[in-house]
Symmetry: C2
Subunit: 500 residues, 2 copies
């Protein structure tokens, strides 16, 4: 058997996670720690010190439960010998109670594309956006022709991206919630990676008229004004040339990290997500914030049960109340659809060592680091201000990524344990593996291996620094695996309003 190995995430934690394959047997001795009175499975928690009945169980630096009885150091801590905290009601939460940690400023730069509106992109892309799905087939043909026939003549342009979606017609466009997909589409086209030079392709009679997107500098092609399929392609290619001409003049220049907007997400998580990739990402996020940059974290249903930690970390009581409002609205949305939230922690989660829903949420929240939450980005809105922001999106990988694109993210970092080839086309997507096994097997998909934290080959601090450095390299133009393969997912709009 390997040398016993555990991971403690936060210095104040009184439990740690077993790393070894197959878990640890009774009698195993933790280096600088207790001897185990009984076996503890892999991914599960053991007590680092003697705990008395009623003592708080601290993981991720927060109380995730209380001891149900006395537990000696080394004992397995699980859902049977702990007491769940009360369900987090929304009317009695701590508001901005945590003092911001000491944060020495960091000075760092990257090579970005500065835009006329002051924003900075990490890529130089021609966006071909659409007001309705009817035009998608024509746009697909046009994009292929732009890529093959035009791009070689505009060497400073990195690529062309079709912003394809199923919104725009056959929808209740004046329903109260329709504002969400509409502003999402408008803000996606304004993403800094597109340099303010999107091309809008409209059918003509759709409900989502181009004026609703309010994109004054975008070029517009209306298919119903063209005399057939051939002329449609010609019109799009001609408009594309005008925009490519302008985009081709963009050049990378040295920009402070304060101009960077990094969107964080996880998907296909496992027991190691919360101990390797996510905390390393949290350290990188802290570093970006200390450099004055912007970090977006998200995933309503994954933070919901750790909401007390978010409201406590809010920079002001008003920001805490905004977080509560967003999650309250999401609760109501789920309830309207008859969703039973109690099914949140699955048997698989518990078998993997997650004793309860607070612990599960903390494993996701830990990727946000420890900075104060400086603001909330509503669904589909563009992020305002800098620092760590909560972009209140669903956890669905595609919808979260689409909304972070709308929020103005210019780099996307995605942690995964079980593995997904997920990637966005308009946003370089850095994939971080939680386990070395996954990183080895998917060597041509995973950009960073955080699994070496679990085996002790790399310290969490070093891994945090690696992730930070990798973010700056990618922001400066280094391609991700997704970009190398030109491998990407579709966009997915969040539309809680009815279709018609």
């Amino acid at each position: 058997m390997d040398r016993p190995r555990v991971i403690r995430v936060h210095p104040q934690d009184n439990v740690a996670i077993v790393v070894n394959d197959g878990g640890l047997r009774a009698g195993a001795r933790i280096p600088d720690g207790p001897v185990l009175p009984g076996a503890v499975p892999q991914g599960h928690k053991l007590a680092l010190v003697d705990l008395a009945a009623g003592d708080p169980i601290r993981r991720y630096g927060v109380v995730i439960a209380h001891a149900a009885r006395d537990l000696p150091a080394g004992a397995w801590v699980n859902e049977h010998n702990t007491v769940l905290p009360a369900a987090p009601a929304l009317d009695d939460l701590p508001l901005a109670t945590v003092r911001a940690p000491q944060a020495l400023p960091v000075s760092a730069t990257f090579q970005g594309y500065r835009n006329p509106d002051g924003s900075v992109g990490t890529r130089n892309l021609l966006a071909v956006t659409t007001t309705v799905q009817c035009v998608a087939g024509v746009v697909e043909h046009a994009v292929r022709r732009i890529r093959d026939a035009l791009l070689p003549r505009y060497p400073n342009v990195d690529g062309v991206v079709a912003l394809d979606h199923v919104y725009g017609c056959g929808v209740a466009i004046d329903a109260p919630d329709a504002a969400i997909p509409i502003r999402t589409l408008a803000n996606i086209a304004r993403n800094p990676n597109f340099g303010g030079r999107a091309l809008v392709v409209s059918l003509g009679c759709e409900k989502l008229q181009p004026a609703r997107l309010d994109l004054p500098e975008a070029a517009l092609v209306t298919l119903q004004e063209q005399d057939g399929f051939g002329p449609m392609l010609d019109a799009i290619l001609s408009a594309a040339e005008t925009q490519l001409e302008a985009l081709n003049a963009r050049r990378r220049e040295t920009c402070p990290v304060s101009e960077l907007v990094v969107g964080l997400q996880c998907g296909g998580s496992d027991a190691f997500s919360g101990v390797t990739a996510n905390p390393a990402l949290g350290l990188a996020a802290d570093r970006i914030v200390r450099a004055g940059g912007t970090v977006l974290f998200s995933e309503n249903t994954e933070v919901r049960d750790g909401i007390a930690q978010l409201t406590a970390r809010a920079a002001t009581p008003e920001i805490a109340r905004e977080i509560i409002r967003e999650l309250d609205r999401y609760d109501a949305y789920l309830a309207r659809g008859g969703v039973d939230r109690s099914a949140n922690t699955t048997p698989g989660n518990k078998a993997g060592g997650l004793s309860n829903i607070v612990e599960k949420a903390m494993g996701s929240i830990v990727k946000s680091g420890s900075a104060p939450i400086a603001g909330v980005v509503p669904l589909g809105a563009r992020a305002e201000g800098r620092g760590l922001l909560y972009a209140a999106t669903p956890a669905s990988d595609f919808i979260c990524g689409t909304l972070q694109l709308a929020a103005g993210a210019t780099v996307h970092v995605f942690t995964t344990g079980r593995g997904t080839p997920y990637s966005l086309e308009a946003l370089p997507t850095i994939k971080v593996a939680t386990r070395s096994d996954l990183a080895r097997r998917w060597h041509d998909l995973m950009d960073i291996n955080a699994g070496t934290v679990a085996t002790g080959e790399t310290s969490l601090a070093e891994m945090g620094r690696q992730v930070f450095d990798h973010i700056l390299a990618v922001a400066s133009g280094a391609p991700t695996w997704g970009e190398r393969h030109r491998l990407h997912n579709a966009l997915a709009l969040f539309n809680p309003a009815p279709v018609t």
Copy 2:
């Protein structure tokens, strides 16, 4: 000025529509009809006979309103001199009151692909379906390689289609309404055009596990079991070869039209939709039904205000009650999202000659012809039985088309006035223009010009026969414009359940 020209849709109608550009002046004489006492705009109705106050106004063979005062033959009939019928409540509708029209059987055949389960396809396609959006990027690469490297070796296979969608994870998979997208995806993969030989690409950890699709004869590739991107592509290509081998053995054979399933839809409609393309399609639909075939018509929000005509035409009271149940459920879905149905008839509709919402609905319903409604297809279900069926889908072109694909349609007929390049990849999509001007301008997109009905160059009966013949030709392999250009829209699932 052109010779005065009007269109009467149904022999029992006592009003007709003015065709002439610019409308007709006072004094104009309708051939075999009245002299106009005043002007009537294009697309608007005139009385064909003297009407007394209280007389029913018949259009499409149904009562769309009553005369508010005496109206002489030739008078303009509009919303000011007619009385709207009562809003169609759902609790007092005629149930199966219309006697089925005399229907002489029609004998006709097409060249189709007969499947082991008895269904007949019109195309021989390899479907690569997906359980979750994570895999879409990999599938896109794989489909390109299948097309380029494998298809040339399987000459009897018409193509390969990626069934890409954003469902499958990050969704409330146990919410009551989740059954709709799940059975939609399962039934799409069972469409007769795929020969029972779909290939399912799964990630591994997604909520929509492949077993939920219940596709015993499908091949399965799970990406999380593969060692990276290269091996993922190899695994999909290898599974594709097995299925292509089987599909390549399929041959077209002579099949009766009773094996054909034709899905009807309209989109981007104009004032002529209800007088040229839709009634011609209605005659073609009647002919398919008389030949024992299956016709699906749809679009809840467009038939809602003509529901009395549907329930009256239902073959049995139980079928009428099923129609009512489906539309009642859709009313509730729209109400949950705060949609105001009273906005249905727009000022543009009225300016175009549509006096009220019943008349608007009838312009859409007329494409279903005059056969009795023999059954209702619930959302996402596969059609059972033959004859004219109401597939209770939203009107959204993409969602309606996707649900008709799930219902087992093997040919799609789409009428359009304003023009849309809409087309499905898995289902040959015949586009019918309502106006000659559109058909001329979009000569490389519109498959049939029904506009010649308005100008009298073609009778409605002849046009109905042309549409019928064209459906059989396309069912037998003649390519549509969409297929020639390989131009198609994305699928769009109807998912009224929440995302998470």
